[in-house]
């Protein structure tokens, strides 16, 4: 029972590096709204790497699923590097596994639409005119390093 609880929480998998466990969903998912607020969310790359040196979070907006990766440190993260290179990641959400295509978003027009809901849900903040501006002149180089990915079903 203890092992089951640890596996469910991802603690054991994280500790021993074992693959994510759960039922693999083979049907494409078009609406990810069910993932909003899910606490049991974990990721691994096709190579089995986990995000260890960066913070990861998910966000659902308009039925689309986003992966947000951030860090204040300069250290490299193997899972992030692999995700950037391969554009693929596996997620466990509410006990089920999903193979996903991870498309990096870098343009403001792709990121701006979900910023208001992101700020509301993660920072408790209502905002107007939110826009992605990662290199502002007034604050040169003070930003956390952040990567945004759009996650879409990619059943193999």
């Amino acid at each position: 029972m203890i092992r089951g609880a640890l596996v469910a929480l991802g603690v054991l998998a994280l500790a021993c590096g074992s693959p994510l466990e759960g039922e693999l969903v083979s049907e494409p998912v078009r609406d990810w709204s069910f993932a909003r607020g899910a606490e049991d969310v974990a990721f691994e790359t096709p190579g089995g790497a986990r995000f260890r040196r960066v913070l990861v979070d998910t966000h659902v907006h308009g039925g689309k699923l986003y992966l947000l990766v951030s860090t204040i440190f300069s250290a490299e993260d193997a899972a992030l590097n692999e995700t950037l290179a391969s554009g693929r990641v596996r997620a466990r959400i509410a006990g089920k596994l999903y193979d996903l295509r991870a498309t990096r978003l870098e343009r403001a027009e792709d990121i701006d639409p979900f910023l208001p809901s992101l700020l509301r849900e993660t920072m408790g903040m209502e905002s107007e005119g939110a826009r992605w501006d990662p290199l502002p002149d007034r604050y040169p180089g003070t930003q956390m390093r952040r990567w945004f990915f759009l996650l879409e079903s990619d059943p193999r």
Binding site: R131, W132, M144
Partner: protein, 161 residues
């Protein structure tokens, strides 16, 4: 007896090393706290907007009477200086509330200051865009904290009287 003395000697040596490390200016580093902040003590500037280009500073408070320092974010608005915590339950937040006299190390220079917590919602709204732009790379026209939805704290920093 001899073994006990040797053990005691090692314990004292470890304590001595720990104290040297603690006060030696090696910390804070990243999330790890440190102790006394070494550096040239300067008079506080009238305008703190130069900190816009500085991502992190070090804050020294007191923990059980001993210096305790952490790395934190810093914001300036209208030339004034503010310290912010996304979560109010940080150790340093309680310490500053208990003893507002702090030391700040900014770019290697130390400033002896006084910090007062602010519950002014207008100030929170004024600093929200600063926080978002400076640290998250998100520009906003305006932003407001939703009452009851955030657990952050803001401190206004002034020179000691």
């Amino acid at each position: 007896m001899g073994r006990a003395l040797r053990f005691l000697r090692w314990v004292l040596l470890l304590v001595l090393v720990a104290l040297v490390v603690w006060f030696g200016g090696l910390g804070p580093y990243g999330f790890a706290p440190g102790g006394y902040l070494w550096g040239e003590v300067r008079e506080p500037p009238a305008d703190w907007s130069f900190t816009d280009a500085i991502p992190e500073i070090q804050l020294e408070t007191r923990l059980f009477g001993l210096p305790y320092s952490v790395t934190i974010w810093v914001m300036s608005q209208g030339g004034r200086l503010f310290l912010g915590a996304i979560e109010c339950d940080r150790v340093w937040v309680d310490q500053v509330k208990a003893d507002p006299e702090i030391r700040l190390r900014v770019d290697g220079r130390v400033y002896e200051m006084r910090a007062e917590i602010s519950t002014d919602r207008a100030l929170g709204a004024a600093l929200a865009p600063v926080l978002l732009h400076k640290y998250l790379g998100i520009a906003v026209d305006s932003a407001n904290w939703i009452p009851g939805e955030n657990t952050g704290c803001v401190f206004r920093v002034r020179p000691r009287a």
